[in-house]
Symmetry: C2
Subunit: 245 residues, 2 copies
């Protein structure tokens, strides 16, 4: 199933002491549940790892032996049908936690879509910490609830929205930074390729491309490069995404 041998990709792990102190995504991640002191207990069971584009590090169906916390980069989470049809259930970036699963095995596969850094936690060791730090379990429940809410929103998108509405929804929900306050520019980075956007939205890459072109022609967006979008009319896109118009 996997394009990589199950063991080999974890060989080059590092275990520097207490790297969490300087971790940029600490506030957003699971780790925010612990204070600096207790964090060392968590760091002690974590193994840091770098992945490069295309590496699959979670295989759907495999025993869920590990949890993961992404520290940088973006990974796609996906499910496959036997004939190759793919559904991306989400993208995970810095601060996101992976591996919440029933004991049967991982419910999805995960692949780095670019350079990725992450922390790996052996399941057994994390479960022990969970017993010791109830606030950690609270945090996981919080995370699971948030994921449930976005999953339900995605079901609405996949089941009932048009292609146009799906692409608009995708654009307005992507994280964005507004540079310059005097002349605000609403910029969105797209680390994933069109095919991934399509597999996320239940469309084909051609349809995604066509919708991008239409939005450009209508002056709703601009695309300085393939992996970058300037949103010119967020209000209008928001309304379209919500099913109005």
């Amino acid at each position: 199933m996997s394009m990589h041998q199950p063991e080999s990709i974890w060989l080059a792990e590092s275990r520097e002491i207490a790297p969490c102190i300087s971790c940029k995504v600490r506030q957003r991640s699971v780790c925010s549940a612990l204070d600096t002191g207790d964090l060392n207990r968590l760091a002690a069971v974590a193994a840091r790892r770098s992945l490069s584009k295309g590496q699959v590090f979670i295989d759907e169906g495999e025993p869920a032996n590990d949890f993961f916390s992404i520290t940088s980069g973006t990974v796609k989470l996906f499910k496959l049908l036997p004939d190759g049809r793919q559904q991306i259930t989400g993208f995970a970036t810095g601060g996101d936690f992976l591996g919440l699963a029933v004991s049967d095995g991982y419910a999805f596969s995960a692949e780095a879509i670019g350079p990725v850094r992450l922390c790996r936690f052996p399941r057994s060791k994390l479960l022990m910490l969970l017993a010791a730090f109830p606030q950690l379990e609270q945090r996981l429940l919080q995370i699971a609830c948030n994921e449930l809410v976005t999953a339900q929103e995605q079901m609405l998108l996949l089941g009932r929205k048009t292609a146009r509405e799906r692409v608009a929804s995708f654009l307005v929900t992507q994280p964005h930074d507004t540079v310059s306050l005097r002349h605000p520019i609403d910029r969105v980075a797209l680390p994933m390729i069109r095919a991934d956007i399509a597999d996320y939205l239940g469309l084909t890459l051609e349809t995604v491309s066509r919708m991008f072109s239409r939005f450009k022609a209508e002056k709703r967006i601009e695309t300085p490069s393939n992996d970058e979008v300037i949103i010119l009319d967020r209000l209008w896109l928001d309304a379209l995404a919500a099913g109005l118009h």
Copy 2:
């Protein structure tokens, strides 16, 4: 938004002491996390309630003041677009727990599709119990994980499966009881109407009806009545649901 006044539907609640002892769905519900002794603490904050067909008891967006545990009957969980398009995100039956949500408010609405009995737990009181009984929190995390897994499976269905595959998936995942061991009959009850099945599968009711008719013509199923299906060829339906054929 709601077709019912927010307060009125909770007027006729009962608070009999310790009804949990005889609760038929106790093993399957949240309550399985507590032993008979501790159960009284839970029962003390629960209010029992009966609902009839069509009653909406959770409104998307409203503050999530309560949790619910269904004891009998079936409810549909759904999200709406402004123009009336509906996506059913799931059906909840006896033993299911509702109300896991971020603080913003409920992420979906809930409506009884027939007579329903349920327990209502005020959010604040349940949160207090959560602190006292960590195994209750573990159980909620377990429940949330299971829901996440089914949500991801549903995204695959909505995003990538054909109408035929969707209806097959629906049929084989519905709870069924096999009566008679000598001549096993694989019977599925469908408490919901075709329109609800359609809104669950991201299709129209006509398409659902056509697929039912095709399966009947192909001798894969029989429909003794509108709300009852006999599965004649489960293996074949399983394969179709998995994306083979």
